[in-house]
Amino acid sequence: MTRAAAAVGRIDWTVVGLVVVLGAVSVVNLHSTSMATGTTVYLKHLYWLVIGLGVMAAVAAIDYRNLQRMAPVFYGGVVLLLALVLAVGKEVNGSRRWLDLGFVGFQPSELAKLAIILTLASWFQRVPRPGGYTLRDLIPVGLLLGVPMFLVLQEPDLGHTLMLLFIGGSMLAYERFEKRAMLSVLLVTVLSAPLIWSFVLRDYQKDRVLTLLDGKADMHGAGWHARQARVAVGSGGLVGKGHGDGTQVAGGFLPENHTDFVFAHLAEEHGFLGAALVLGIYLFLILAALRSAVQARDKFGGHVAVGVGALIFWHVVMNIGMVLNMLPVTGVTLPLMSYGGTSVLTVMAALGLLLNINLRRTVF
């Protein structure tokens, strides 16, 4: 048996299989959008998924320890791109998130998530603290996390800023810290909350939070979107209205039904059964990532796996939490389900990292 054949046998085919199922569901789902709007988003999404599978395979193929060496360069490049997007990015709806590459738009903030995962993992690998990380160690970690967060917040893109924070935070939660350090993080979080509310959040962002807390919501803008998502989800019932017959989608009552609110679209047409299936797949992927983390060959691999798990987790929780009217409206996509090239490629690359780590584990 050749080494390659052995490697193929060791690939986590369950993860690959679930990714393919998820991709198939999303293409079917977007086909309904295409029927309603007379566009071909489902085909474009299919192309991106196919390209994404290629990216996933490529990322899985390179030994991740080589990637570890590349991490600082990647990080530096992403920070430059984030700065570049602020300068020359395409302005859409009052924010600059896109770099126009001529044939395709591209969001550097998506790459920033991968950069954070790789960079923090690599830092933890390089700076071992058997007795637990100290308060002073938080300074470099904070800087590595803070610079891209700050740049993304300037776009402004609150969703992605939070995403970076949550992914980084989840990775920290996988490490051991001294009590003093933990308490400090807690204290800073509590104290900074009102400051962030007053000085960082913009009015429309505050509105979205208030809308959620308010319950009945202003029926314009984000509040209206959230309400229509809730109506779409609820009206789906157990089995849904059927493919192409989701009135919220077809009638145009549910905005962004192929991107941010795609889960509402799914829930409306395929009901609790369809929505729960997709939710189950995500949970399985996250648990697979955490399992890979403890089986990883080294700390870097373990942290990357946790980071990938966190990326999927936070995307799903923030997106579906928003759709189900539990969290404020932020433009966070649903991995692989939301239409969008950069998002698909980022998630596929992250899943490639997961397969990579799994492939090169020591524990079987």
């Binding site: 989840s170 609820g234 009135t247 009638g251 145009g252 009901g271 955490l290 403890v294 080294d298 939490g321």
Partner: protein, 634 residues
């Protein structure tokens, strides 16, 4: 445990991974529960919200039933009315539209500014909602508006029904009017019969028979997308399949009354000189109401949706309470109540109608003096004389002998103290005072003197004009008390009778025929006695009328000749006259009640005469047949 990460001496990764796993599973559990909650528990409600999104319902209003008088003449009817609407989202040339509307509606500059604001103001989905610019435009303007509609976008003309009352103020209390439902009524309306712009019966028969008259609105539904564009194919067609697409409106039923428009006009004219009061005409043979009205009246055409502030203020500020239906409201009856006392005394065997009783100007009872309306008194009179002259002391003595509870027993046989059965406008049952009533309601409790006041229709006695009419009807027909009957039958538009309201006896006077005759004879004297008759102004030339005056004291301080000098309306006496005719074979009962109208004999009696005469001339010759019968030798 520490076998994880061979190059690290750190421990606890497994434990922390397990903790992270728990967090992830916990968070997903919350998502699952929430998803299940929305889709399985709130599913129906949110599905309804979803349906509201894409379904547009056009209401097809039901045509309200018509109310006819006994001869098929219209009292209340729907006619089509044209309203002008603008849908902001459809307007392409606002200036052109406004210029056109200026011409159609003859608006001034200020109106134009307001109009422009109203069209420009709506935002978002509200722009798809049509705004009513003007209601009930006349035919000529409809034609001009139609022409304008062909030139500019966004204008529409909608047809709805406007209620019309051809008789206007005449008999408005009986027929009633329509009004919009209140917020709480809409809330309670679980069947969804009414919308904010529905009109429902607010007063009179319109209200009493709302469920019969209203019918059921129909609708047409279609599917729209978020922009309001109609979707008949694809998803729209499939969504439509799940909902009821249309329902034709069901017309309400028609109501045929027993009332005669002509009698209503007679009553209206007869009361012309008095500000406030009521008049009732019934057929004593079966309790059928031929005419009933209350003064002052109001214009139901204005009240049914076109009420102006001036008219509203005029009604609100009137001291005569135009919105009170005085025909079914209870007042002091005064001397018309003496028929109760007389019949009670005869039945109880304490009165010989032919025996003269001393009836001076006042009567000492206990530590109180009870006065007669005539200070000089009437000398010694029998029942005929006492009734004719309305001799109070005669009846005080009867009241003293009978006691208040015996009087009450007979009063109830006349129908007093019970609702007469019209079922409209807060119809009152009145008060038949008893010992128990006074114990409960009078300061100082019951005293025997109260029986004396009760015997002449004062004290706490209250009766409505309609009750008095039915009571006199019972005397006139020989003893049967009928329920008031105002609706003859209800039928569908094509004439099929849905329900018929036959006359219904509710009791009898339980009295000896001779005793009833004795009272009736006394009533005949009260109109026709050449010397004593207080009701002589009710006498007609061609036949014989029987009746009784009533001048009910409202304020105790005012007495005798001083009464007529009182200027304050509210302090003046109520004037009553209750009559039946012809005396020999009664065909109609007429009751005239003039609130604070002065004297029964001088004011109410002539009004009653005019009504009887007009009835005889214009409705039915009540006296001729009788006269012929009398001419026949027996």
């Amino acid at each position: 445990m520490s076998d994880v990460y061979l190059d690290s001496s750190a421990v606890g990764y497994r434990a922390r991974a397990r903790r992270l796993t728990l967090v992830a599973v916990g968070a997903f559990a919350v998502l699952f529960l929430r998803l299940g909650h929305l889709q399985l528990l709130e599913g129906d409600e949110l599905e309804a919200a979803s349906t509201r999104n894409f379904v547009r319902t056009v209401v097809l209003p039901a045509d309200r039933g018509t109310i006819y008088d006994r001869k098929g003449r219209v009292l209340a009817v729907n006619r089509p009315s044209f309203d002008l609407y603008v849908t902001p989202a459809q307007v392409k040339d606002l200036d052109g539209l406004i210029a056109g509307l200026r011409e159609v509606l003859e608006l001034d500059e200020l109106d134009l500014v307001r109009l422009r604001e109203r069209i420009e103001e709506p935002r978002g989905m509200w722009r798809f909602r049509a705004i009513r610019i003007e209601r009930d435009i006349d035919r000529k303007r409809v034609a001009v508006a139609e022409a304008l509609r062909a030139r500019v976008d966004g204008l529409s003309i909608r047809v709805r029904y406007q209620r019309e009352y051809p008789e206007g103020r005449v008999g408005a209390h009986l027929v009633g009017y329509l009004g919009k439902p209140t917020a709480s009524e809409l809330e309670k309306d679980v069947e969804g019969r009414y919308r904010a712009d529905s009109m429902l019966g607010r007063f009179g028969l319109e209200r009493r028979f709302e469920s019969v008259l209203a019918g059921r609105d129909g609708f047409e539904r279609y599917v729209v997308d978020a922009r309001g564009a109609r979707q008949d194919d694809g998803w729209g067609e499939r969504a439509m399949a799940a909902i009821q697409s249309s329902r034709p409106p069901e017309r309400g039923h028609d109501i045929m009354l027993t009332v005669d428009i002509e009698v209503q006009r007679i009553l209206h004219d007869a009361l012309a000189d008095y500000e406030s009061g009521a008049a009732v005409v019934i057929d004593p043979r079966d309790g059928t109401v031929r005419g009933i009205l209350s003064k002052p009246s109001f214009d139901p055409n204005l009240w049914s949706g076109r009420l102006t502030t001036e008219h509203k203020r005029e009604v609100d500020e009137s001291p005569y309470h135009p919105m009170l239906d005085k025909s079914v409201h209870a007042y002091f009856p005064g001397s018309v109540y003496k028929v109760v006392t007389a019949l009670a005394a005869l039945e109880e065997g304490i009165l010989d109608p032919e025996e003269p009783i001393e009836s001076p100007g006042s009567y000492e009872y206990g530590n109180r003096t009870f006065h007669c309306h005539k200070r000089s008194g009437h000398g010694s009179v029998d029942l005929n004389g006492a009734m004719a002259a309305s001799a109070d002391v005669y009846f005080y003595k009867l009241g003293e002998a009978l006691g208040i509870d015996t009087l009450a027993t007979y009063a109830r046989r006349f129908g007093f103290g019970e609702r007469p059965g019209l079922g409209i406008n807060g119809e009152q049952s009145g008060i038949v005072p008893t010992r128990a009533h006074h114990e409960a309601n009078t300061k100082g409790g019951f005293q025997h003197g109260l029986a004396l006041s009760t015997a002449i229709g004062q004290g706490d006695v209250r009766t409505s004009p309609l009750q008095v009419a039915l009571a006199f009807g019972a005397l006139a027909n020989g003893g049967t008390l009928y329920r008031a009957r105002v609706v003859d039958h209800i039928r569908t538009e094509d004439g099929r009778v849905v329900s018929r309201y036959d006359s219904k006896p509710v009791g009898t006077l339980e009295a000896d025929e001779d005793h009833i005759l004795a009272v009736n004879r006394a009533l005949e004297r009260a109109v026709n006695d050449p010397e004593l008759a207080t009701g002589h102004l009710a006498a007609v030339a061609g036949g014989r009328v029987a009746g009784k005056t009533g001048t009910a004291q409202v304020r105790k301080i005012v007495r005798g000749h001083m009464r007529q000098a009182v200027n304050r309306f509210q302090d003046r006496d109520h004037a009553w006259f209750a009559a039946f005719a012809p005396y020999e074979a009664p065909k109609l009962v007429v009751v005239v009640f003039l609130e604070h109208g002065g004297s029964g004999g001088k004011d109410a009696a002539p009004v009653a005469r005019r009504i009887i005469e007009a009835y005889h001339q214009r409705i039915e010759q009540v006296f001729t047949t009788t006269a012929r019968n009398e001419a026949k030798p027996r």
